[in-house]
Symmetry: C2
Subunit: 336 residues, 2 copies
Amino acid sequence: MKRLQLEDISKQLGYSKTLISMVLNGKGNQYGISKKTQEAVLKAVAELDYTPNKFARALRTGKSFFVGLIVADISNPFYSTIAKNIEAVLFEQGYNLMVCSTGENEEHEKRLVEMMVNQQGVDGLIVASTFKNADFYTNSRYANTPFVFIDRVLPLFNANYVVIDNYGGSIEIVNHLIKQNCKTVACFSITPSYISTIEDRINGYKDAIIKNKLKVDESLIKQIRFDTIQKDVEQSLNELLKSTTAIDAIYCLNNNITTALLIALRKKEFEKLASKIKIASFDDIDLFNIIDRKIISVSQPIEDIGKNSSLLILDVINGKQTNKSNVVLSTKLIER
Amino acid sequence: MKRLQLEDISKQLGYSKTLISMVLNGKGNQYGISKKTQEAVLKAVAELDYTPNKFARALRTGKSFFVGLIVADISNPFYSTIAKNIEAVLFEQGYNLMVCSTGENEEHEKRLVEMMVNQQGVDGLIVASTFKNADFYTNSRYANTPFVFIDRVLPLFNANYVVIDNYGGSIEIVNHLIKQNCKTVACFSITPSYISTIEDRINGYKDAIIKNKLKVDESLIKQIRFDTIQKDVEQSLNELLKSTTAIDAIYCLNNNITTALLIALRKKEFEKLASKIKIASFDDIDLFNIIDRKIISVSQPIEDIGKNSSLLILDVINGKQTNKSNVVLSTKLIER
DNA sequence: AGATAAATTTAAAAGGTTTTAGATTTTTGG
DNA sequence: CCAAAAATCTAAAACCTTTTAAATTTATCT
């Protein structure tokens, strides 16, 4: 069964392809097609169940109605929740989403962007970038492609973005810990730590300590590598427990680290020693409602990142934007 | 800056568009283009950084190099892990993934399939269908579109699929419970229960009981509705605890239910009463490694669903398939 | 060298839409 | 009833590839 095309409808109806195309694109009035004709066309098209060939349309208009989403890992619930919300908004507007993961690899991110823009012809791109700086994106090649950055910002780069107030959330939770009489708060950070979210959280951690007239002890800030997360967490925990300074709390900069820490704490060698230590986590996950330990956390409005960024990219695509738009969403402290 | 096109390369090089197109598509030898010419073309194209217009190519060839993925909810880790693995395989082969969520809604699934096939022109579709039966998919409209079904099968439908051995896994875990002297095993199922995965798990549960010469007590099988999961679980738990029959174990048919049950068990009213009850879960999640309670679970080879289904859809797309392919992946019992 | 065969290369068509510029029909005014 | 204006409608071009069918160039053989 051959696909129906404009020509077929044209012959059946006795109107030109032009006219039918105009009506279908909602430009009937604009081009002065009479009400009666428009109705007839719409009715016939509905009956015959015709839909325009996507490629021909894209070729002619240069619009694909595709938006790309590039994140580190789509199987990470944080990003998949964002994806879900983006997709819902786009679908409403007749757009589609194309998702790819970089695996936190800069070269892979490059390839994906190139591919999406050059070959796949996306109309716009939403990116949680792994890059250290914006060099790649400031390239004039991308000047014409709408971009919205999410989750992470690139330094010195005037771009559209939708992010969380990582600094503020971090200040709030560390403040809270100190008010609860945790004077010595260790921090489990993650490598690569140049990523803006992590940078901001560390800065918030430090500034909260300073504002409370306490001293920042660099030896309490531990770097955890993403691909050896469990091992690194256990080693850092070991160091902390063996050191002479007693620790009141450990603040984990993301949910992966918190999870790893919780797993570590189930081991015999840590269980007792660390039982008094408070645990705080940037990013709140379901898990914290199930376990016995009372985790203090900062929850992020993940859905809002998706909704905001998708609405924003549509505005940019449709030329409804004048200035770059910078959205910073507030976090919420969750005590337990 | 206007996009480079075949014509520009042609003028610069002094070869026809035809020739350049042939070389770029790797058909140089097939059409007898000399080695020297081919090299010259490739070099020039690389230097000028030309990439063919995707839409023009798709229009001419009818191939989009897009595969669609339709699942109930892309923010569910189960599906997002599948998505990640599919995407990785497709990317290797020059294909792209387009993901959409149905929200477990049949009408929405219809719209998505129609849209992907008719308007977006995907080359193939991977679907975890929400439908009760295959009527929609047996429609001749879709006869020409490659489909691979995953996770769930539709009854009486001769199609390609990649699924888990839900029946076998269920038998194994219930068997294990009974061997551990849990004679009375309650079952928390989920509505809609016509979904093949759930059906198979319930059948496995029943058959394991029968094979062990015990009686199936229908009153121990509780239906949990997906959208009121927490409330329903607590109500069912309440019923069980109040009834005269003592329960040895509760078997939850998916990780959402298990999680809800674990949350419920933290409440004062249940905590003590249920402390002796063993908990079993179809689908193993990280959480089980962190909490104190020893959860017995069946783990599913989630990555393999993604890998297998994507390789399969590519075979179908490329006409390398003769008969429908049915893949059933084994589960693994995890004792704790 | 001339005719034929083999090796390279290319012109033109096809794919199905949207848009521009222009044609045709209908209405209006005198 | 005719000319001009307004209202509808349409032919053809454009979008940029890939592929078919044919042309041109080079090699081979007598």
